[in-house]
């Protein structure tokens, strides 16, 4: 049981990291990123491939942050010239392009065969509980660092600018500031966080293949953010925890509810995700941890 809980904790913390990044982009800045999984994938592949070349893991993780951040840079430049809601489609298209490239460029990514035998984190501790605890601890640390970075960003003059952008772009423009530059930077920070999450994922699961990085992952992160509370750091944590509780909880539900087949359960699971998205949007747009007075 312990090791299973640790596994859930690890995956949940990976989702927290993803949600934090998205929350910075959308919650604080209003950037509609529907391609989060693309940055996640880039981080996972960057770190996995480098580590298999014998690069120290610390540098691999650094690369996992840098590669997606750099990839998001041109996207930001291009799409910020377009309408706000186009960014959703541009990023979605980007993440699908990443998936196709990972599938097609065999020389680099081993294509559809995937990348097996990725080194684990803390492999020197062996395989087992101690190593699992170490991984969870590292993930906790990464999340704390991410929160600190976000707090710095949010509370800096830069951050106040960000909130101003979200609330009233024209006012910022009138002040002679360039919101586009800030937006690009925020997009890059969020992408870097997703990339680090990807690195943790790759070294935890130890096997990655392009078909793992489908848009559904992005929607799960959106669901976590919306349930937890858009624009709240605590919301990312609560939201990701709820998401895992729901995704994993449904396994146990089936042990107790006889008469529903696994196929039907899968349908029910997706249906409940949908219903949660609808109900939260209508009745609790501020999420569970959100500001109760604002709507």
């Amino acid at each position: 049981m312990e090791s299973y809980l640790l596994a859930i904790a690890a995956v949940a913390l990976i989702y927290v990291l993803l949600t934090l990044g998205l929350n910075l982009q959308y919650g604080f800045t209003g950037l509609i990123n529907f391609g989060h999984v693309g940055f996640f994938a880039l981080g996972a592949y960057a770190s996995a491939l480098l580590s298999l070349e014998g690069v120290p893991l610390v540098l691999c993780f650094l690369a996992a942050a840098l590669v997606p951040a750099l990839a998001s840079w041109p996207i930001g430049l291009i799409s910020l010239r377009l309408r706000d809601d186009y960014l959703a489609i541009v990023t979605l298209g980007f993440s699908e392009t990443v998936r196709l490239a990972l599938t097609s460029e065999k020389w680099l990514t081993n294509g559809v065969q995937g990348v097996p035998a990725i080194p684990r984190l803390f492999a020197e501790l062996g395989i087992g509980r101690i190593a699992d605890y170490a991984v969870v601890a590292a993930l906790l640390l990464a999340n704390v660092v991410a929160v600190l970075i976000m707090l710095r960003v949010v509370r800096s003059p830069f951050g106040r600018m960000i909130e101003a952008i979200r609330d009233d772009e024209e006012a910022v423009l009138a002040l002679g500031k360039d919101p586009a530059r800030f937006k690009v930077q925020v997009l890059m920070i969020g992408a870097a966080l997703a990339g680090v999450a990807g690195a943790f994922y790759a070294h935890y699961i130890t096997y990655i293949v392009p078909e793992q990085f489908v848009p559904l992952v992005t929607f799960y992160v959106w669901m976590a953010m919306i349930m937890g509370g858009v624009g709240r750091i605590s919301g990312a944590i609560v939201g990701a925890a709820l998401l895992m509780l729901f995704l994993e909880g449904s396994r146990f539900l089936r042990d107790f509810v006889p008469g529903i087949t696994e196929v039907e359960m899968a349908s029910v699971r997706i249906g409940v995700v949908g219903l949660a998205l609808i109900l939260f949007t209508i009745y609790r747009p501020q999420g569970l941890m959100g500001d109760f007075t604002r709507r």
């Binding site: 299973y4 294509g111 065969q113 995937g114 699961i205 994993e248 089936r254 042990d255 696994e262 359960m265």
Partner: protein, 411 residues
Amino acid sequence: MTELKRRGFLAGAAATGLVAGMAPGLVWAQGQQTFRIGALNPVTGVGGPYGSGMQRAILFAAEEVNAAGGAGGRRLEIFAEDSQTQPQAAVLAAKKLIEVNKVQAVVGTWSSGVSLAVIPLTNEANIPLMHCSGAPALSVAPANAKNMGWRFQATNERFGKAFAEIAQREGFKRPATMAFNNASGIGNTEGFRKAWEAKGGKVLESVVYEPNRPSYRSELQKVLQSRPDVIVTGSYLQDTTIILREWYQSGQKVKWIIPGWAANPDLIKALGPEVTEGIISVDSVSNENARSYAHFGNKYQQATGQPAASNVYAAMTYDMVISLALAMEAAGPKATTQQINAKLRDVANPEGDKVYTFAEGKEMLAKGQKINYEGASSVLDFDQHGDVSPNFGVFFIEKGQLNRRYVVAIG
């Protein structure tokens, strides 16, 4: 025997089974041990068309074992999970099965991605993983470092070899290939290419396509432009349906060699006999003539209302449970999981009397005889890597029927 009587007979048989199953149940109530098996199947995702049938087969195989009094004095208990055909979901499901349900074996993983992600966990827990994945990497270390991975499906390479054998035997000279862009699809066509080139042949054109397109017309045009006499595919049902429909519309004459999971009764139902006439469907349906297959087929029909031929993987998962149970029986009541794992070859490989059901095997083992379980999915002889080499049935679709013409054996 009329249809009605037949049904009555089957129902009667089921009822007998039930009674037989209940009597030992009373004994178990007084502190009988159980052996826990995790059924980790692709119920949703790409494997969706097969997953639930695989799971049903595991369940009725366990019922069959329990009805025969259990294996090695233990009753089988199944815990079922959906792998969602996704490594991440499968890893969590496997952790749950191993940690929470304390399963002593995981059976029925399907896609190579899932099996490669799960096998480090089963190795770590020192329990066997029985899978139907094609990737060659699963045969050797690191994935199979502990020799606790058992493959009940032919490797992609063996599939490719079989395709080449068949193409040669049918006298084709100018093959081309089309592959779904995933490990299994490309594995089949690349396996074919290797084997065909080893025979001194040349593949005229190879196209890899992304799934979920509304049309594959330009992919087809590219392949047909090379004027092949046969197109070998590594494809699935949905894309094959669209591709064949568009090929028929094009009017160009060519033959097809298609894996059995795509060229199945559903394909014929979707396209009709005229379009599908002459298609060669290749499947690792090895043991169609064995009693174990008929036995399984009956049960599968009863449980799902579908013919056994509609789901080759269900026979594999059925064999997983039966062979595991026979190994348990051979290893005795106190055996550890490792000892049971070590017995698998003993009960399934040659030099032993052939048995076709769990009950037969149990009886022979009780007499102290060596047995060789002949599975429903294949003769089930494991090589040094824990891989089976099923024979390949070669089916021709004729007037809307899949007719088996011959069998190809790959060493």
